[in-house]
Subunit: 370 residues, 2 copies
């Protein structure tokens, strides 16, 4: 998507590769929205560190970063001994996988690359295939998001007022995003509409990342406190809700997503407002049989007890943490919640829009062989 | 209630009067929870400034501050001329009223004091009556809150997990508070329970003031993000919700309170969790016929776009504002919302607990003559 730098609009992807320098290029997401910088990792160890330290975050984006990181590591190998090369590639794989051990996307992405490499008969051939396969993975991520956008854009009309929660935007993918894909597609179709971004405490990804994205794209938007959505719905000021998902259960249609998603779904149901979840197929979990079996990560209490921001209002303002809450109080900090299928109007996928209760019935169309 | 200062527990009221120094003593609420200080206003103009600048806030607390301010101004008069004295008192009244022109409590409180003063036959007598009447107003505020506590404490058992929103605590009154009154009364009765404080973005009164209050009283509590209550209810971790109210409509039972209250009421209804509103009688509006007629204040966007806190974690940490959101994004910031009667289990008043739909039928018991 576009980034405005000193008044100039330029297209960027979250993750790309510089073949000449053998470097993975990443938007430094920890500095957003106050600074825009591209980090270039010089070797696969730096790429693993970038994934671990959340320079890059989001399912699709870390998948692509790991795929590129594997190619980067493979291309750094000197010599013609295929056995030594294979051992080296395994080491690169393990290093990149251990950067975010519970994430599934880096593993899937690197398996794709490794599988493709087997076609190569020499080190040199395998190195070339590795990069081509990583590029293909990244391009497919973009295509899937664009397909989500095509299907979801039909839900947006001129004047639609959309609520979104957290960041399931292009920063979480290679480009376009999932929940934001219909928004960008509707804009490309010339529609005029407005987006309310839940600030999404405690980590404020809506106020920081989603608001930044929409501002770069020139989309009309406002940040609201998480407390305000109910009031705006009651007064008839929200027409449509679109969110992303970290895990969607194929068997039940339950959706795990950032804490607060469930609350917005309950409010939307009460007010008869359509509530959509936009997901790539890779986030569908075909195994689990109940949302109560999804482990809910309990995160550090400091996130709830304070806030990160810029001391001055300028883009280059120094970032600091302020303790907001009473210094002698503790906090509970569940990171995710689970929304039942009955509250979800539809699931927007690259293969079309499905009712959450129909995912299992339509599993073949959704790429599940079982 | 109690305040812990350097390990020592001492009782304080939010607003008191020092007759020797003719000074109104106020807990400096703008510095909480990071610093505890008592501000002493030397004359009625300083008291008016303290109300205007929110050193003291909350319905009952600013009522008492204005009553004491009127007595303070009256007592500063030198001379025996009753006519000159009366003109002086009117000037004091106008100055104090203009500090928070839309608030009703200072007006009611000062009218009580002025009415009582008419009994005095000399300047000296009227000065003495003014102080006595202000003390009486403050004591009545405390008594009403204690009565709320007595009725509400019955709702709390050993092990009850209570959710509260914003600060309707003793800092908003002279002492005890409204939503917190049942909590303090249950504690005094020896019950053991737990309180979840919604942080209450954007101004974070739950994380700052309510959490501070509960910590001073030694009550088990945790701060949660406003997004987390739905998840905790879904997992069966909340048994009871108690909130305050800025205005309750006597004719319809609708409750205006801090933004986010409506959302919590919708969630509580879905999960069959009792939802109570605790109010002194002075916040019942017997005139308005619909919650949609309650003007909803739209506050400054900077509240949503950033946060105030302490740079270091110590009580004396320097306070600073950090800009959290994207610097080129704006915000909507409605300050209040309206909860319909059907979502409210009961209204806890000094006169007992009423169903919100029964307020009008019981208006005589609730002190409304009409």
């Amino acid at each position: 998507m576009n980034v405005i730098i000193r008044g100039q609009t330029r297209p960027y992807r979250t993750v790309t590769f510089d073949a000449n320098r053998n470097a993975v290029l990443l938007i430094e997401q920890r500095l957003l929205p106050h600074q825009f910088e591209i980090a270039a990792t010089r070797d696969f160890r730096e790429t693993a560190a970038a994934i671990r330290d959340m320079i890059v975050r989001g399912a699709g984006a870390i998948g692509a970063a790991a795929a590129y990181g594997l190619a980067q590591g493979a291309r750094a190998f000197r010599g013609r001994d295929l056995k030594k090369f294979s051992r080296h590639v395994e080491q690169v794989y393990d290093t990149l996988q251990s950067a975010r051990p519970t994430a599934v996307d880096p593993v899937n992405a690197m398996n794709d690359v490794r599988h493709a490499m087997r076609r190569g008969k020499s080190v040199e051939e395998q190195q070339a295939i590795a990069l081509a396969a990583a590029e293909e993975f990244a391009n497919e991520d973009v295509q899937h998001c664009e397909q989500i956008g095509r299907h979801g854009a039909k839900l947006i009309c001129n004047g639609t007022r959309i609520l979104t929660h957290c960041n399931a935007g292009w920063l979480a993918f290679v480009d376009v995003g999932s929940a934001t894909a219909p928004i960008y597609a509707a804009q490309a179709a010339g529609k005029k509409f407005h987006v309310f971004c839940d600030e999404t405490r405690p980590r404020s990804q809506g106020a920081t990342l989603t608001a930044w994205e929409l501002a770069q794209q020139g989309i009309s938007h406002e940040v609201i406190a998480d407390n305000a959505a109910g009031h705006l719905m009651q007064r008839g000021e929200i027409d449509l809700v679109i969110v992303g998902s970290d895990r969607t259960l194929g068997r039940t249609g339950e959706v795990a997503n950032k804490i607060g998603t469930y609350t917005k779904a309950v409010l939307a149901k009460r007010h008869g407002i359509p509530f959509y979840v936009a997901i790539p197929l890779s986030t569908i979990d075909w195994k689990l049989k109940s949302g109560f079996d999804i482990p809910i990560e309990e995160r550090h209490e400091s996130e709830v007890l304070g806030a990160w921001g810029a001391i001055s209002n300028r883009q280059s303002g120094r970032r600091a943490y302020v303790r907001v809450a009473n210094p002698t109080s503790g906090a509970r900090n569940p990171g995710f919640d689970v929304t039942p299928a009955e509250l979800i109007t539809g699931v927007i996928t690259p293969a079309g829009i499905f009712k959450p209760q129909e995912l299992w019935k339509c599993r073949r169309a959704l790429g599940f062989g079982g």
